[in-house]
Amino acid sequence: MDFEPTDDQVALQSGLRRFLADRVTPEARRAMVELPGAVDRDLWRELAGMGVFALTLPEATGGAGLGAAEATLVFEELGRAAVPGPLIGTFLAAGLGEGATTSAGAGLAAAAATGDAVVGLVPRTVVGAPALIEHLAALDGLMVVGDEEVELVEPPLASRPVTRPLDPLTPVDVVDDLPGGTALGGLDVVGRLRAGGGLLAAALQIGLADAAMTMATGYALQRTQFGRLIGSFQALKHLLADAQVQVEVARAAVQAAGVEVDDALAGHGDAARLHRALDAARIVASGAADRATRACVQVHGGMGFTWEHDAHLYLKRALVLDAGIGSPDEAVESLAGAL
């Protein structure tokens, strides 16, 4: 056992972190709200060029040949930069090529892997109920996950935009009657998308949480009140320490779940242990993101409650991610069933 990241893993993560720090500055990120679906397609292709979407595909088919463990590191960085867009859907669509039984799946996978397709991922809602779709204006394909099958629905769809989405960088459209689509797969694909969706959302939340902590700590080291740095007050120090503890624990859980996925694929797994690791990661990452992003707002005081400050963008993105495929609430029930 050696659960520390390898040198290659550290290099992968730090390289992407540097790229995103330059490319997705706070100003650039806010400007993306003007783009269709708030997706910067140039950035999308640049991410694909760095191997983000094809990360786990075999090298023979243009992928990086890496595993879910590396995916958790990459998605932590995407979360740290709060990159807008359906990152999880596109990443998981790229993975559908392997063993794809439908031509629709193979085509979608190829385009997703190269960053040429932007792919959404939503649960199938009750028939007749309106569906809320993130980033719809940017989507080339939408994977709709039901209980037993996954369908590919191709835009355009009759829809109306939400004028005030929860997260300004996650635009939402309402589709009153989400049509059926082309079959992408059955139960096994449902399972893969649920597991992958939960794990990647958890990894994004770790990045969001860590970024919020960096922002909060930076402010606590610079803001003076009562003649002292506010970070020297135990009331604040303990608030931040508690939040960081949650982040550290959750990061370990998310990465462990990634390793379990890879071990299972390599034939060393245990299905029960894998599912439990995924559920646990989903639950604690959601809690950590909630704790850290709230702490960030709190530490910034009144400024943290403004639209102008970025704190709310991290908080809201974390909340958006809890509504995706493989939600923390599902994970809690799933884990309870396994106890």
């Binding site: 520390e4 700590t217 303990h238 859980a253 690791a277 029930e333 106890l339």
Partner: protein, 398 residues
């Protein structure tokens, strides 16, 4: 990031598991509640068995008689012994995990030769004389005085929270040898034989009803100069050396024990108590709280493996131990809270009168015990300062 074990680690696990399967059935019954001499005999008997099988001093260097196991192997050792329901370290805690490693690192060759072998064999029991009534979290303010008198020190003062003092042979003692020096620089680490004249041990009863701790009154106790470990007035550094041994394994038994408590609790919840609204498990609030506690314990197990891996690479787990402890105490206290909700009126007794549980029949006791986890070995408040200052880089308060 690799969680799978190497072939060597697997071999170690299998060999250990086989030994435990063979050995545990031959152990005597555990000691009765509050019978400290019997507990000493039981715990040191277990230490002796570990010694004979080559598992004593699992993380100690081989040159001092230990096994020199890697942090991963130590983790496996703790995991397997907990899984098998082996005895806890008990009375041997201070000797094997604190005083022994300190003497190995800082003692003279004579001190090592005198004190380390009996610790490994389970022949001698140690206690710790660090805290004082006026020196708790602020340990460096300790006031127990040691005055040089020829080839002895004469020690007078009061210590507190001394576990197993009533059955210990030696005490690792921190005393003030230079009252005029800056407070961290006038402290000395010394070995006090517990049969010295002038020691009075008064057991203290904790809120769980047990008397593991004692107050210790020292009245002109004469301690030979040769019992100083490290240099005179260098005791603070010697005491801190021990904390550098943190390999991320300090709470492994605790954590795995909590997982077992949870499993046990789920079993109780599923079977009853059957109220008008069904079993406790039918209560979604209770069921989901148990699941969240389970998720947190699993996540803390992942963090443990991270800390152990870090220790294997860098020699110690750094601030990871504080991170773990802060996360763990909260989860464990919440486990205790949900346990009482599961038990309902069965909480009124400090054992399990419903007869539903096969192991760990003491959820009420555990609920009370968990309160100590945010106090002992560095309060949660001190740990938060450590995390805030060392991990986040925030300034000290003053």
């Amino acid at each position: 990031m690799r969680l799978r074990e190497t072939a060597e680690e697997q071999a170690f696990r299998h060999e250990l598991r086989a030994w435990l399967d063979e050995t545990l059935p031959t152990l005597p019954p555990a000691s009765p509640f509050e019978d400290w001499p019997a507990k000493r005999a039981y715990d040191t008997g277990w230490q002796r068995r570990l010694f004979e099988a080559g598992y004593a001093g699992i993380s100690w260097p081989q040159e001092y008689g230990g096994r020199g196991a890697t942090p991963s192997e130590e983790l496996i050792f703790l995991e397997e012994t907990e899984r098998a329901g082996a005895p806890y370290v008990g009375c041997n805690f201070v000797s094997t995990l604190h005083a022994g490693p300190t003497i190995a690192a800082e003692g003279t060759p004579e001190q090592r030769a005198r004190y380390l072998p009996p610790i490994l064999r389970g022949d001698e029991v140690w206690c710790q004389g660090f805290s004082e009534p006026e020196a708790g979290s602020d340990l460096a303010s300790l006031r127990t005085r040691a005055v040089r008198d020829g080839d002895h020190y004469v020690v007078t003062g009061q210590k507190i929270w001394t576990s197993h003092a009533q059955v210990a042979d030696f005490c690792e003692l921190l005393v003030r040898t230079d009252p005029d020096a800056p407070r961290h620089r006038g402290i000395t680490w010394m070995i006090m034989p517990m049969d010295s004249a002038g020691i009075e041990v008064r057991p203290m009863r904790t809120l769980t009803g047990e008397s593991e701790f004692s107050e210790m009154f020292l009245d002109e106790v004469r301690i030979p100069v040769g019992n100083v470990v490290g240099a005179e007035n260098d005791g603070w550094r010697v005491a801190m050396v021990t904390f550098g041994f943190e390999r991320g394994t300090a709470f492994v038994g605790e954590l795995l024990g909590s997982m077992r408590l949870l499993t046990d609790l789920v079993e109780i919840a599923r079977k009853g108590p059957a109220g008008p609204r069904g079993t406790a498990w039918d209560d979604a609030g209770i069921r989901r709280e148990l699941a969240v506690v389970g998720a947190e314990l699993d996540a803390q197990w992942a963090l443990t493996r991270r800390n152990v891996s870090r220790a294997a690479r860098h020699g110690n787990a750094g601030v990871g131990g504080s991170v773990f402890k802060l996360a763990y105490h909260e989860t464990r206290q919440r486990l205790g809270e949900v346990a009482l909700r599961v038990l309902g009126r069965a909480r009124l007794a400090l054992d399990d009168p419903t007869g539903l549980s096969s192991r760990h029949l003491d959820h009420v006791h555990q609920r009370l015990y968990a309160l100590s986890l945010s106090i002992a070995a560095g309060t949660a408040q001190v740990q938060r300062n450590i995390v805030g200052e060392r991990l986040l880089g925030l300034p000290k308060e003053r």
